[in-house]
């Protein structure tokens, strides 16, 4: 043991500059193209994820503008009905599966390891694999759109419309397989987050000292782990019904068309919270910084996150109130749908109390958070309205519902996300975003959003159904539709300003220091952008707001080796140091495994034998991935 200690380099043996040099040598990415492909640095992968997801946001936004162009006047002929069906399906699927969920997970991949004070995410190679799989799924969907073979069955692809009899061609298969891609990548990240949060927290970061964003990401990861298998089952059985003639959704042979709706929404409703919980975590983390006091009600906020997560599995039937389920079931789901307003309300009041007791500084992230609170409360109120069966029966599949879910999704998730981008941009790039452009972006987005989506409530009450490609001039919807279309240009302009600001600030933004906002959490304790090893030494945490309580130097833990990638593993509850654990070095094999997986998944839309033959390259890639290096894995 002693001899072994002599041959390795521990961080205690080096001075500060030497330590940084050694760590960079061990953790840094290799240069060149293959170095880029092979990297397993959670920050690099998360940045790729975020950039890719925002590209999908732009593409999805362009589709939305195309739809608004078509609906701006009655009997318009810009888009034919078939293309319109593809466009609204693409818009929904793209925004849910290629933007909202991945971008939230990407924020988790970037921030969780930094906030818990560790050097890399757990299972870093799985993380790289996850990104490549996600990218392949996105490319699949968009290539299909360009080939005029995009799904045209709505983003929830109800059978029998999406089933073998009515969903001609490969359109529905492409939808289902895109789901499989994104679920695979989401599940991979969820597992990484749970393990990172449970085992890699900095010493002293007991459960009651975890930053709220990390709590939110943890609950989100559990939701992913429990909800996503349902949709994987759904998408796989749909493909099997269509390809090999299984009878899962065929009532004539003992299947059940309603099974699809149950399985889809058993995933689909938690999905909303998979998007929303990270967003509230962002709010709970950003808000205290801009009022410069600890958040009010840490415990109720954590409990509300967990309660929302649990309750989210008991609401799915409220999407199905008009399919003719038993009254008792409908009443139960009405009650549970209204009950989820309770944890949401608790969080709102905790934030209001935080604002009340502090001295808010209205920088751009703070503006987006105020915008979030206003918009989300309105969306929550219409949510309570549609939770009631008689009301829902009236407005089901109308623009009222379209307005409601854009209020909760854009108001509830995109505003906090934009706040988070403005807030963590200095950490990710080392540069500040523009305060002036940011204000322009906020006001354009905030006003543009409300002008675009509020009239949709009225259109819905006037009976305008969703997913129609045009309407007749005699119907009383023309004026409001034109107004909505014009307002959507304002909303789009807001996003344009935001993207201009982001791209410009990447290059020309003023330099940010380590902690430009004077924030209390650990990610601000390292340089901006953080080095490949995140922290020179692993910090030791003594309370919830380590950078406020110890503004100078943090206490650190020492004794980790620097000549190999090594992390500190701590206990689940108390975060007592347990062991030194190696972290996987970079590898190109996750990339090849993702390519092999993509080939298998795409091929399997055309032939069931793909599962057999396509699994062989995957096996080869996995063998390469896990090839033993000859070095002892465990030595702690």
């Amino acid at each position: 043991m002693v001899e072994q200690r002599l041959s390795v380099i521990a961080d205690t043996d080096l001075d500060r500059a030497g330590l940084e040099r050694e760590l960079e040598k061990t953790w840094g990415a290799q240069p060149g193209f293959w170095g880029m492909i092979a990297t397993v640095d959670h920050k690099v992968i998360a940045r790729r994820y975020i950039v890719t997801a925002f590209v999908f946001l732009i593409l999805g936004g362009l589709l939305a503008l195309a739809m608004r162009l078509q609906l701006a006047q009655p009997e318009a002929r810009f888009i034919n009905p078939d293309r319109y069906n593809q466009i609204f399906t693409m818009h929904g699927s793209n925004m849910m599966f290629l933007f909202a969920v991945p971008v939230m997970e990407a924020m988790a991949v970037y921030l969780v390891p930094l906030m818990v004070g560790t050097r890399n995410i757990a299972f870093p190679r799985l993380n790289a694999f996850s990104y490549w799989v996600f990218l392949a799924g996105g490319i699949l969907l968009w290539l299909a759109f360009l080939l005029d073979a995009a799904p045209d069955v709505g983003w929830f692809a109800y059978v029998p419309l999406a089933g073998p009899e009515y969903g001609a061609g490969k359109r529905a298969d492409i939808w289902a397989q895109m789901i499989t891609f994104t679920e695979l990548s989401a599940l991979a990240i969820a597992v990484e987050i749970v393990v990172t949060v449970f085992t890699q927290r900095a010493p002293g970061m007991s459960l009651d000292r975890i930053p709220l964003l990390v709590w939110a990401m943890l609950v989100m990861a559990f939701l992913v782990i429990m909800a996503m298998p349902a949709i994987m089952f759904a998408s796989s059985t749909l493909i099997m019904d269509r390809l090999v003639g299984t009878q899962f959704y065929n009532p004539a042979e003992g299947g059940d068309a309603l099974l699809w709706q149950h399985v889809f929404w058993f995933f689909g409703h938690p999905e909303v919270y998979i998007i929303f919980l990270p967003a509230v975590g962002m709010v709970s983390t950003i808000l205290p910084t801009f009022v410069q006091r600890p958040v009010f009600g840490y415990l109720p906020l954590v409990m509300a996150l967990i309660a929302t997560g649990i309750l989210s599995f008991g609401l799915w039937v409220h999407h199905m109130f008009v399919v003719g389920l038993p009254r008792l079931g409908e009443s139960f789901f009405t009650a549970s749908s209204m009950a989820i307003a309770v944890p949401a309300g608790i969080q709102i009041f905790c934030w209001l109390a935080t604002l009340w007791a502090g001295r808010p500084v209205f920088k751009v992230p703070m503006l987006f958070i105020i915008g979030f609170i206003i918009t989300f409360v309105i969306g929550g109120l219409t949510g309570v309205m549609v939770a009631s069966v008689p009301f829902d029966t009236q407005v089901h599949d109308t623009y009222f519902v379209v307005a409601h879910f854009h209020y909760v999704l854009i108001g509830g998730a995109v505003y906090p996300l934009l706040a988070a981008i403005y807030y963590w941009f200095p950490k990710m790039t080392g540069r500040m975003m523009s305060e002036i452009l940011g204000r322009w972006a906020f006001w354009l987005i905030f006003i543009g959003f409300h002008l675009t989506f509020f009239p949709m409530h009225i259109l819905g009450l006037q009976g305008m159904p969703r997913r129609i490609y045009t309407y007749q001039p005699e119907l009383p919807w023309g004026g409001l539709n034109l107004f909505v279309s014009l307002s959507s240009v304002m909303l789009a302009a807001g996003f344009l300003v935001f993207f201009i600001d982001a791209v410009r600030s990447c290059v020309h933004g003023p330099k940010a220091g380590e902690n430009p906002w004077n924030a209390p959490t650990l990610e601000w304790a390292t340089s901006s952008p953080p080095p490949s090893y995140n922290f020179r030494s692993i910090p030791v945490v003594e309370d919830r707001n380590p950078l406020w309580s110890r503004p100078g130097e943090l206490t650190v833990a020492a004794g980790l080796r620097t000549d190999r990638r090594e992390l500190l593993v701590t206990s689940v509850v108390e975060a007592l140091p347990h062991a030194r654990e190696s972290s996987a070095p970079q590898s190109v094999w996750p990339f090849w495994a993702a390519i092999a997986t993509s080939i298998m998944l795409i091929w399997s839309m055309f032939s069931a034998w793909a599962v057999v033959w396509g699994s062989m390259p995957i096996a080869i890639a996995l063998i390469g991935w896990f090839w033993p290096k000859g070095a002892p894995e465990e030595e702690s």
């Binding site: 990415a29 170095g35 880029m36 590209v55 089933g163 003639g245």
Partner: protein, 200 residues
């Protein structure tokens, strides 16, 4: 130094991939096949112009059929429309789910008037002796072509990925995308049509 490499790479890589993606997309966008919901009247008229052999068996499809890219026997949408028309116009009354009945079977690999599209389309449009009615006055010509393409897939011996999948009904045979003719063909002790030469 290597930190800056990794920072550039994280922006460069998605950028390179997206450009590649856009180029591929633009290239493939040439190949796309938009669905034709309503055939142009001139095309429709031209589709009538089958040039059959004098005995009404086999011949040359109209030129416009090639100009369109032979859609009716290979695009999934047209084939699935054909399947729907098969039900709507009561083809199953005589031909069953392809196993035949009053009319000949499509699953046995035998085509009384030959397996070409133009023969099948002519059979549907003009009718045939011994009970096959003429549908030319009941459905449009492009629907006849869709139906012909579908009828061909029932008897196909190798499955096409574009062939329709099962219906949401009771199942009597594998769906068209699983080549039912190939799995169900059974010559039996006596060849099916000994008068017409050796079996396929």
């Amino acid at each position: 130094m290597s930190a800056s490499v990794s920072r550039n790479s994280s922006i460069m890589l998605p950028a390179i991939l997206l450009i590649l993606f856009a180029l591929t997309a633009a290239l493939i966008a040439y190949l796309r096949e938009p669905r034709q919901y309503r055939t142009d009247p001139p095309v429709s008229e031209a589709l009538e112009g089958m040039r059959l052999m004098p005995n009404g068996i086999a011949g040359t499809p109209p030129d416009v059929y090639f100009a369109l890219g032979k859609p009716y026997e290979k695009t999934a949408y047209d084939l699935s429309q054909g399947k729907r028309l098969y039900t709507w116009f009561g083809c199953a009354e005589c031909h069953g789910e392809g196993e035949g009945g009053k009319g000949p079977s499509f699953l046995d690999g035998w085509w009384l008037y030959g397996p070409s599209m133009v023969s099948i389309a002519a059979s549907i449009r003009d009718g045939r002796p011994h009970g096959m009615p003429a549908f030319g006055s009941r459905i449009t010509i492009d629907e006849i072509w869709q139906l012909s393409g579908y009828v061909k897939t029932i008897g196909a011996y190798s499955a096409s990925v574009n062939a329709p999948a099962r219906n949401d009904d009771r199942q009597t045979r594998p769906a068209e995308n699983r080549a039912p003719a190939a799995s169900l063909f059974d010559e039996g002790p006596v060849p099916v049509h000994p008068d017409q030469g050796p079996s396929p």
